[in-house]
Symmetry: C2
Subunit: 335 residues, 2 copies
């Protein structure tokens, strides 16, 4: 049995172990400060395929294969793989996983997907219904641009609050036993919509969801930012990060010391001209699977809170005048 703390948080009495992780990125990622933490960086945006959508599937294949290799496991050693992406009907995932023959639960959490896969995967392991689970997601700048905004060759002008969708995939292998950082709590997000309608300002749209889940997590576990070596939101970017910091300041909680956003870490925002920073499912996934887990496994950190955020809109919902609902799933990871 697990311990439920409040409405959204479960403390796992049987924490799931991160047996391995792998991450794949593209050219922009290779020019960013986290480049040394990627397992594979490809200068060809097509990853050797004929289309960018197929490239995204290729990235997922590479990430899963590498993570399995690092854990010395075969695909059939996984009880489930939980995965999803931003493409319509999540085809990056379904075509990426097609040849692995692993029992598959498809998830859609927009850019919170890495948090969602880790949360559900950990709950399955904690409940004793799975011994080993793959958790994976991806995004690709060119597939996201043409699906959500404009085809890349159009050369669309970007607003100052816009973010750059990461071309990256990340995969974690969770196990019931073994060595590695452990997922010790899971906080499942609620949908939060504060009425933001600007599709070029995802940070503002998602920040209230990040605040809501972090607030729920802190309250349920009776902790604050000071109890973690670092707290990471998904891909709020510069503006969203500031909004979350301000919202906590109103509660007299100081987030200024150790709160970071994956969207501000993946690129050198100024030098690479990334406007508000990185976004996409692959942003928090690749930051976690490379940089964050390395710091934990090398003992530089003991305990972090990882809280990817997602915007649950579609181009159609925005055309129909809807605001942008956000969600944020958080997990505690301890060395």
């Amino acid at each position: 049995m697990q311990t439920r703390l409040g409405a959204q948080t479960v403390a796992l009495e049987r924490p799931s172990v991160i047996l391995s992780s792998a991450t794949v990125g593209g050219r922009q990622e290779s020019e960013g400060p986290l480049a040394p933490y990627f397992d594979h960086l490809c200068m060809d945006s097509f990853f050797g395929e004929k289309t960018w959508e197929k490239a995204e599937s290729a990235m997922q294949k590479m990430a899963l294969s590498k993570a399995l290799e690092k854990a010395t496991l075969a695909p059939e050693d996984l009880d489930y793989v939980l995965a999803g992406d931003l493409l319509n009907q999540c085809t990056g995932t379904s075509f990426g996983l097609r040849d692995f023959h692993i029992p598959f639960f498809g998830l859609y959490g927009a850019c919170s997907t890495m948090g969602e896969t880790l949360a559900l995967g950990s709950l399955l392991v904690a409940g004793g219904v799975a011994q080993r689970v793959g958790a994976m997601t991806s995004s690709h700048f060119c597939t996201a641009e043409r699906q959500y905004r404009m085809p890349v060759p159009y050369g669309n002008q970007r607003t100052p609050t816009a973010q750059w969708t990461a071309t990256a995939a990340g995969c974690v292998i969770l196990g019931a036993e073994g060595n590695g950082p452990k997922i010790t709590t899971v906080t499942c997000g609620k949908i939060v919509d504060k009425g933001v309608t600007d599709v070029n300002n995802m940070g503002a749209a998602m920040a209230p969801a990040a605040y809501d889940s972090l607030r729920a997590h802190f309250d349920a576990t009776n902790t604050g930012p000071q109890d973690y070596d670092a707290v990471f939101t998904g891909d709020l970017g510069v503006l969203g990060h500031q909004i979350v910091t301000d919202m906590f300041a109103e509660d007299k909680v100081d987030m200024s010391q150790n709160y970071h956003d994956c969207g501000m870490l993946l690129y050198d925002v100024q030098k690479q001209d990334m406007h508000a920073g990185a976004s996409g499912c692959g942003c928090s996934a690749s930051v976690l699977c490379g940089y964050l887990l390395r710091q934990l496994s090398e003992g530089k950190w003991k305990k972090i809170l990882f809280a990817p955020t997602g915007a649950l809109l579609s181009p159609t919902s925005s055309f129909q005048g809807e605001s942008i609902p956000g969600i944020c799933h958080a997990v505690t990871i301890e060395a």
Copy 2:
């Protein structure tokens, strides 16, 4: 602890109980043979909203509200809601659930979504990490037509193998304790792709996945169709149902006595001119939440196998020449 039987199946030592279910449908559903089993049938395809997409969200709201009401529960009594739909970015679900404030895991399993929500929901309950879970999905003929095929006013000609996307939503409330039919086994599907590329023949594309999961389930549980009062696949339609029957006949397994497909039950296929039958997430969801669960709760059946099927393609993947991967998640439900 649960018992894993083979690679895909878990026998739940703590079965989840179906506390209530509710289903909502549209005009075509009101003219079909299962009309008496719907909680609400609306003759207006807009369900009082301004767009069909908003209508789909309205259907999910109605289904969840009704299911909660039947179980005498409030939204805050649910630990999680697991839901998804066919719309790009699953916005039928995110906008439908926005006002309920229930911790939410978004799923994407195409038309297998009802099976996926029940499978994952049951695993969470069985593992003791949740006490009560909502499992829900929907589809809408008009949103699906304009997204996957042609806008409805265009009057697109349909092929003989085409199916009619159900305008329907279904919601189940699962609990760790209580009275009602129980989910006793969960079989998680693998992605199966036999190379079918005809987007107007989903039955043929998904049938191999249905066969694969049913085969895995029968093998793992040492059962055959004769051990169930009835076996139901999701929305294979007339052709897919025949293919599954033929595939089992090659194994010397006789499916002809009690194997049905939800896509052949929802409408009077001939009279309503539905070509190969019904499809869409809402097809298997509404057939389960109305007709099937009624038969179980009235004691007419003791044990059924419910196996919704999904096609994991997108319009883009088909334009790029890809074949159609399928998946099928199966659960055993016992009175």
